[in-house]
């Protein structure tokens, strides 16, 4: 049941084009299928032990919990594909979550859309800073975003201090966003799936999107080929920040209580999701859909551990172990894929 839910909402549209393009499409699809296979096997094994894992409520829980991470994974994918990293996403999320949710308390009756836009704006500003420093400054993004991870979080703590935004100051309609469902599927999951689909389509079908892959594969060659590397990377970071900003608003809607610690530690989880999702850590390949599936897989694993009631002291160890297994399996698939592609490539060229 979870398989059809996933594939129905997340299979990308078939892309037109040359044989090589069709090949790449197929490559991505095989990669994503790999993750889906792991997901299905995992769910099947868990459900056989605890059948309640697959009931409607639990699936809704998992999907809603995944939304924030799937969004962050989308932004991170764009950045990682271009051979960069954005470690500041957790801090941006926290800053945006507090500042935008706080608007409800400061301005009674403010439309929810405006609050989302505010979150987007905050994230955009942070992403802009990252983007300028990385692209114009030509400095390693790992260092820059590690620095902004500290700086944005520090700003957040300074602004928030010991205050918190509480659920009673948030409108019911806002808090209801993660809870609304249509025929059992959370609205939020559908909305995020659409966003991911748009992101995936952009990365594959728009020239600027595909140029990110070129930049990630070989930045110097890309530059020589006339690709405006600086501009593309700048946009990637700005979008990643904007997405993190929106994710912050959704975070606020989900949890209802926001203080200065929101989003702490998310960066490592997002990078894990992206890597598990098949995005190469050195750039040049991977798909947004894969990354979102990676986020889904990791959240499913978390949920399974808790539903199975495995002693809580074992959670982290199992999580770490499964992460390594997931990375290994994906690497295995990638290697087989590369061999297969090389063989086919010889015939098609």
């Amino acid at each position: 049941m979870s398989t059809t839910l996933v594939s129905r909402s997340e299979r990308p549209p078939a892309a037109p084009g040359t044989g090589a393009r069709r090949l790449t499409e197929r490559a991505f699809r095989i990669r994503e299928s790999g993750i889906i296979v792991v997901l299905v096997v995992f769910v099947a094994v868990t459900a056989s032990v605890q059948h309640r894992f697959l009931n409607t409520t639990n699936i809704q829980f998992i999907l809603v919990n995944t939304t924030v991470f799937a969004l962050l994974a989308l932004g991170e994918t764009m950045v990682v594909i271009s051979r960069n990293y954005d470690l500041s996403v957790g801090s941006v999320l926290g800053l945006s979550a507090y500042l935008s949710a706080n608007l409800f308390g400061q301005h009674r009756g403010i439309p929810i859309v405006v609050v989302f836009l505010a979150g987007l704006g905050i994230g955009l500003a942070c992403g802009l800073l990252n983007g300028i420093m990385v692209s114009a400054g030509r400095v390693p993004s790992l260092v820059v975003t590690l620095a902004t991870l500290y700086i944005f979080r520090g700003v957040d703590i300074l602004i928030v201090g010991g205050k918190e935004v509480v659920a009673s100051s948030l409108p019911g309609a806002f808090l209801n966003i993660p809870k609304a469902t249509v025929i059992g599927i959370p609205d939020l999951a559908i909305a995020i799936a659409v966003v991911i689909g748009i992101g995936a389509y952009y990365l594959r079908s728009f020239r600027s999107g595909r140029e990110l892959y070129a930049i990630g594969s070989n930045p110097d060659a890309a530059r020589l080929a006339g690709i405006p590397v600086g501009r593309r990377v700048f946009v990637a970071f700005t979008v990643s920040g904007a997405i993190a900003g929106v994710a912050g608003v959704l975070w606020a809607a989900q949890y209802g209580t926001i203080d200065s610690t929101a989003g702490t530690g998310y960066e490592l989880q997002v990078v894990s999701a992206v890597v598990v999702g098949g995005v190469a850590i050195f750039g040049g390949s991977g798909s947004a859909v894969g990354a979102a599936l990676g986020a889904l897989l990791l959240n499913t694993i978390s949920s399974a551990l808790y539903v199975l009631g495995i002693s809580p002291f074992w959670d982290q160890a199992i999580w770490g172990f499964l992460l390594i297994v997931a990375i290994t399996v994906d690497r295995f698939i990638a290697v087989r894929l590369a061999i297969a592609l090389r063989l086919r490539g010889g015939r098609h060229e």
Binding site: N65, G137, L175, G256, Y306, P312
Partner: protein
């Protein structure tokens, strides 16, 4: 050219942000340093158990909560809420709140060491770990610094501990509240904070004891939310799936109860799985209003901080030495008696519910 400008811009940004940060004053530090030194000449107010001598003034007091940026501690410590620093100012002392931001010993210890270096006479600490702070606190006590713990104890290396309520009572009252809501029967679970938190484990111990009074109630599971909303949410959801017969949840942690409330605040669970625990009124007002939570427990953090401040000054002035039965006055809170193990209790835990929650703003 673009590179140079950008580099200068960024370096400038970095420098400006550091300078700005340096200039921003900590919201909770007292500005009474000048006034207190002026008042130092005169003797302090309020005397206590009849020994006649007045309380010392001009003491340098450092309040070191588990972490900064924590709503509970900000309420307990700041002058604005009539917490610890308000009491210190009234007594003519200098009160400063300092700590790290990570709620770990590694983050708290440098702040304690710095306070000692800055000439602290008194340390009021909420311990991030019951033993890891001991080497530092013991060396402080050896230098004649008064070390008082509040909220979370480090039993072997402090002069006195100011406890918000009797550990036993905090545990038992939460069970009693849930039992009365459930009609004394049903499966319940506990959503705790971190597995190694001493106060959590102590309270849970008493909860299990109290549960023996209700033979028809059963504790099916204890899970750990690690004081992180995402984890707390997931463990609560896990409980709901694993135990479909679950009737109640106790979460003795403010982060845990808020996260659990958000999960239970749906038509499916509201009123069917009852929630109680320790929480701050502001964060739970919505859930009390819509019935997700009927009643929960806490105390007034500002009173805890206020009492800790008075106790610390009394000790530092040599008026009390922790002997069981000694009494002292704590300003607006009245008189207190020292209990066993050099502990002072603030009072019984307070039950919040729909009839009184709107009177509180913290």
């Amino acid at each position: 050219m673009k590179l140079r400008q950008t580099a200068w811009l960024t370096s400038g940004l970095a420098v400006v942000s550091v300078v700005l940060a340096a200039c921003s004053s900590s919201s909770s530090s007292s500005s009474s340093s000048t006034t207190s030194s002026a008042a130092a000449a005169s003797s302090g107010p309020a005397s206590s158990s009849g020994s006649g001598a007045a309380l010392k003034t001009g003491l340098k007091v450092f309040i070191i909560p588990k972490n900064l940026g924590n709503n509970y501690f900000t309420t307990a410590d700041s002058a604005k809420t009539d917490g610890a620093i308000a009491a210190l100012t009234a007594l003519g002392e200098t009160g400063t709140e300092t700590s790290g931001t990570a709620a770990t010993p590694a983050s708290q210890i440098p702040a304690i060491q710095a306070a000692i270096s800055k000439g602290a006479n008194v340390l009021i600490v909420s311990a991030t770990d019951p033993t890891a702070l001991c080497p530092t606190l013991t060396s402080a006590m050896k230098r004649g610094i008064t070390v008082i713990t509040y909220d979370s104890d480090a039993p072997t290396c402090r002069d006195m501990f100011i406890n918000q309520a009797s550990t036993a009572q905090i545990g038992t009252s939460e069970v009693d509240v849930l039992a009365s809501e459930l009609g004394d029967s049903g499966d319940i679970a506990i959503v705790s904070a971190t597995a190694s938190a001493t106060n959590q484990n102590a309270w849970i111990g008493y909860m299990k004891q109290e549960l023996t009074k209700y033979p028809k109630m059963k504790l099916v599971s204890t899970v750990y939310g690690n004081d992180d909303p995402t984890t707390a949410t997931q463990v609560t959801q896990g409980l709901l799936e694993q135990y479909p017969s679950l009737k109640g949840i106790i979460s003795p942690t403010t982060v845990g109860i808020a996260a659990a409330a958000a999960v239970l605040d749906t038509a499916k669970y509201r009123g069917k799985v009852l929630l109680t625990g320790l929480g701050t009124p502001d964060s739970l007002k919505k859930y009390v209003a819509d019935g997700t939570i009927k009643a929960f427990i806490l105390w007034k953090p500002q009173d805890l901080g206020y009492l800790a401040a008075y106790a610390a000054v009394e000790w530092a002035s040599g008026k009390i030495n922790g002997t069981q039965g000694q009494t002292f006055s704590a300003g607006r809170l009245g008189t207190f008696t020292i209990g066993a193990d050099k502990t002072v209790l603030l009072g019984p835990p307070f039950t919040f519910n729909s009839s009184n929650i709107n009177q509180f703003n913290f």
